[in-house]
């Protein structure tokens, strides 16, 4: 079965500094990888995805993520963090060889951008 690990509970970063949120995954086949963001009392908002092709994918609000097959990682990055980026970030994986379409989510990382 597929699973995701987000090792840090909270990521603190100063405004204007680079932001990295870590994610590693485990699947038996090939992965589809996703990042979602959740603001208080809001649903999950899609940020970006990796399906195939270029390992560096760009998404909404200046975020990008790099797929690394050898390290089974899909870290989320933003070159310059904004206070408005403070939110809960979830990494998710779907195993395309597993025969279902369910997403497995990590526990989430709280990002706090300090003004």
């Amino acid at each position: 079965a597929q699973s995701v690990a987000q090792p840090e509970d909270q990521v603190n970063v100063a405004e204007g500094n680079p932001l990295t949120v870590k994610c590693t995954y485990s699947v038996s086949g090939n992965p589809y990888l996703f990042w979602y963001v959740q603001y208080p009392n809001r649903g999950l908002q899609f940020l970006l995805k990796y399906i195939t092709g270029d390992n560096l994918v760009k998404g909404s609000y200046g975020f990008e993520a790099e797929f690394n097959k050898s390290q089974t990682s899909f870290h989320l990055k933003k070159p310059s963090a904004l206070v408005s980026d403070s939110a809960l970030y979830f990494c998710a994986v779907r195993d395309i060889n597993y025969g279902n379409n369910r997403l497995a989510f990590g526990k989430g990382n709280q990002v706090v951008v300090i003004p």
Binding site: F46, F90, N101, R102
Partner: protein, 113 residues
């Protein structure tokens, strides 16, 4: 509509009461998912529909949980004889196909007292 709509946004149920949670997916989306998100946790898969067919219900925690999508559009998640451990946010998501990104509703926060 423009996005996935869920109702009610908040539901307080007495233990033992039955509840029904509604999801209106994005028009034309074939796939529909239900997830359960406990406080401080990531969403956990409950069930998946492709049109009206329920293709995967392996995540439903007990036989008190039942989901349907009779016409391949609106879906209802029903929980019978609610227990305190059912307290969570229930998220619905839809996608064009199973292997594209899913779009989530704002969720229904269920509190069982």
């Amino acid at each position: 509509g423009a996005g996935v709509s869920q109702s009610p946004r908040y539901k307080v149920a007495k233990r033992g009461q039955d509840v029904a949670l509604r999801c209106d997916p994005i028009s034309g989306h074939v796939s529909l998912f239900w997830y359960q998100q406990a406080l401080g946790q990531g969403p956990e898969f409950l069930t998946y529909f492709q049109n009206e067919a329920q293709l995967d219900k392996s995540g439903l925690p007990s036989d008190r949980f039942f989901a349907e999508r009779p016409e391949g559009s609106v879906s209802t998640l029903k929980i019978q004889r609610t227990q305190q451990e059912d307290s969570a946010v229930y998220l619905c998501a839809s996608s064009l196909e199973g292997n594209t990104e899913a779009f989530f509703g704002q969720g229904t926060r269920l509190t069982v007292v």
